[in-house]
Structure formats: C-alpha cells, structure tokens
C-alpha cells in the first residue's frame, strides 16, 4: 500500500511544529500518569483550572501572541516565541 501524503504539502517547519505539539501532549500524559488528577487549582483568573486547561491557554495565547507580533512588529518571530514561552510559564505558575 502506498501512502502518498504529498497532497498534505508537508514542510519541515510545519512538521516540527506538529511534532512539538505531539511531544507536549505526550509530556502531559506522562505528567498525568506520574501525578494523576490534573492538579486542579484556583489561580489569578479566580476559577478552577487543570493542567490541561493551562496547556490549552498557553497554546491559544501563544498563537495570538505570534499573530499580534506579525501584525504589529514584523515577520521575525523569535521574540514572539520567547514571549510565548514566558507567557506559558506564567500560565502554568499563576493561572
């Protein structure tokens, strides 16, 4: 059987992006196995969030940080990536 995936137009950067997301999900699964229950807590948003919620918020927020950077600053996204990492650490620490 021949799996021709050329119609999906894969590129190395997009493959790396999805591999990172997959690794994050695997990491979350391992974390959940090691410490079950999702670590629910009430943070600065004043409602209960689990680890999964915090990852979702981190990824969604990072997407908007990158878009805002593209729209307001320019096409070089390394600083947007750094800002996103800081934002994600903040979300996991305080939300």
């Amino acid at each position: 059987m021949n799996f021709d995936l050329s119609w999906m137009a894969w590129t190395w950067p997009t493959a790396a992006f999805f591999a990172t997301i997959l690794l994050l999900l695997c990491g979350m699964a391992v974390w959940e196995y090691a410490s079950p229950g999702g670590n629910p807590r009430v943070g600065i948003l004043r409602f209960e969030t689990t680890r999964g919620d915090r990852l979702f918020l981190s990824l969604l927020g990072s997407a908007f940080i990158h878009l805002a950077w593209l729209g307001l600053v320019g096409p070089s996204l390394w600083w947007a990536l750094a800002l996103s990492v800081v934002y994600a650490i903040g979300v996991f620490r305080y939300v």
Binding site: W7, T11, F17, F18, E48, L60, L70, P75
Partner: protein, 288 residues
C-alpha cells in the same frame, strides 16, 4: 501513589479519536501546511513563510468582514436567546398542544440551509415576494438587493426564523425536567411569576442555555449558505461575512495560501470566543 479509577475505559474512546483525526485533525494540519506556502495547482508548492498572515492582518477587507461577523453574531444572540426562552416558557407542558408545538418548532430546523436561503430570497423580493411586496405596500421602501440595511434586516429575520427553534427546544427540554415540587414550594411561599422564573426556571435552564449560546454563536459566526444565497455578500460587501470572503479567496481566486491563513485566524477566534463563553457560563454555574 494510589490509583483512584480505572483508566482502561479510555480505550473505548479510541474509535472517536480515529474518526476525529481523519475528519478534523488531518485537514487542519493540511490547512496549516498550506498557510505557509503558495501554489499554482498540480500539487506544486512554494515556501511563503508568514507572508499570508502578514498580508491578512493588514487587510482592511478581512477586518471589515470580521466586524460584520461579530455584529451579526451579537444581534443573533441578543434576539434568539431571549425569544427562545420566552417561547419555551409559553409552550404547553401537557396535553395535545405539546406534540403540535414541538413539530412546529422543529420544522424550520429540518429545512436545508440553501433552501432556507432560497425561500427568503424570494420572500423578501419587492416584486414577487410576499414580505417585500407588502412591506413596500405599507409605504416602507424595502429593497434588500440595493439597500445594505434592508439586506441585514432580511438576513437577521431569516436566521431568527431558522434557528430560534433550536433555542426553544433546548430551553423546553430544560423546563420540563424541573420537578413539580419546585413549583409547589414556590406557590406555598407566594413567589411571583418573575421570582419563579429567576430562581427556579432560569437556573434549571442554565446548562441547556450554555449549549444553546455556544451552538448559536459558533453557527452564526460561521454562517455561509443563507446569506450567500440571499444576497451573495452584497449589496457591495455589506453582508460579506468571513466565511463568504474565505470561499471567495479559496475557490473564486484559488489563493489557497491566503485562504488557509484566513481559516486559521478564523479558527483561533472561534476557539477563543467559545472558550470564553464556556468558561464564563460553567463558572457561573459552579459558583451557584
């Protein structure tokens, strides 16, 4: 470390995961791949990087369509949710009227979207349409083909006619699940009609209202078929919503890269707003 529940049940979810992977995740991955490339067809792609996203974010056409979409969704929710609750509250709870009302309410939901668009396209016309003709006969200059305001009115009334039933049916399901004991207790306490609604019916409808608001928001924000059939996005661009603009870009102009970038931004906005709605409503529920 003590395991508190059996996680093997998750394997039962596997078939759904496979289905979602094929119907949603793989197409989404393809859209991401397209969004950073350009193509002239024949499966040949050229790297474009973030060019389409930059172009999109500085495009007034995109932002105007976005504002139109947000205004449309806001108007739709403002009308359909209170109207749906009102109708559900006034529907009979027992007797022969129940099946009659339920069937009448379900009818608009059974009509395909393009047919709804065609019905209202004819209905609103001022030469042969019942609505357009009689509104003009009353002395009101109504022409949805030429006047942007009239086009908006037609599309909003059409959507209210088509989808309020969904809110009604969901609210009705919430209302009939309230045990009689609640009403009896309210009667003993001498509660007013408003108090019964505010402290018994509305809280009991909270969960179904959450579903109704989410469904109606997502659906109205992604609306395509009905306005496309009725107005084609016009007059001018006055009813060109994001989905219509997207289809014009992807299929009309065959600009797959820019269309993919637009799809992703569109998707992220829907994801964000749906999360906000869901979080606000579920936490309000939890606080109670």
């Amino acid at each position: 470390m003590e395991k508190t529940w059996n996680n093997k049940a998750w394997f039962l979810v596997l078939p759904v995961l496979v289905l979602v992977a094929f119907s949603a995740v793989i197409p989404l991955m393809t859209v991401v791949n397209y969004s950073v490339q350009d193509t002239f067809g024949n499966n040949v792609f050229f790297w474009a990087g973030t060019e389409w996203f930059e172009e999109l974010l500085s495009s007034s056409r995109f932002w105007e369509a976005m504002v139109r979409n947000l205004i449309f969704s806001f108007i739709i929710l403002t009308i359909q949710v209170p109207l749906g609750i009102f109708i559900a509250l006034n529907m009979p709870k027992k007797g022969w009227g129940v099946p009659v009302c339920l069937v009448l309410m379900a009818l608009p939901l059974l009509i395909p979207w393009n047919v709804v668009g065609t019905i209202w396209q004819v209905f609103g016309r001022n030469d042969i349409g019942l609505l357009g003709y009689y509104v003009n006969a009353l002395g009101i200059d109504f022409n949805y083909v030429q006047d942007p305001f009239d086009a908006w009115v037609t599309i909003i009334i059409m959507d209210v006619w088509h989808w309020t039933s969904l809110v009604v049916l969901l609210c009705y399901a919430g209302l009939v699940s309230i045990p009689d004991a609640f009403y009896q207790a309210a009667k003993i306490d001498g509660a007013s009609r408003w108090a019964v609604f505010r402290y018994i019916q509305l809280p009991k409808m909270q969960r179904v209202l959450l579903i109704a608001v989410l469904l109606r928001f997502m659906d109205s924000f992604m609306i395509y078929t009905e306005p496309f059939v009725v107005t084609g996005g016009g007059p001018g661009n006055s009813t060109t919503f994001l989905s219509i603009d997207l289809v014009k870009t992807a299929l009309g102009q065959f600009d797959l890269g820019p269309a993919a970038a637009m799809s992703l931004v569109y998707f992220l906005i829907i994801l964000l707003l749906s999360w906000v709605f869901y979080t606000v409503m579920t936490n309000y529920d939890a606080e109670r």
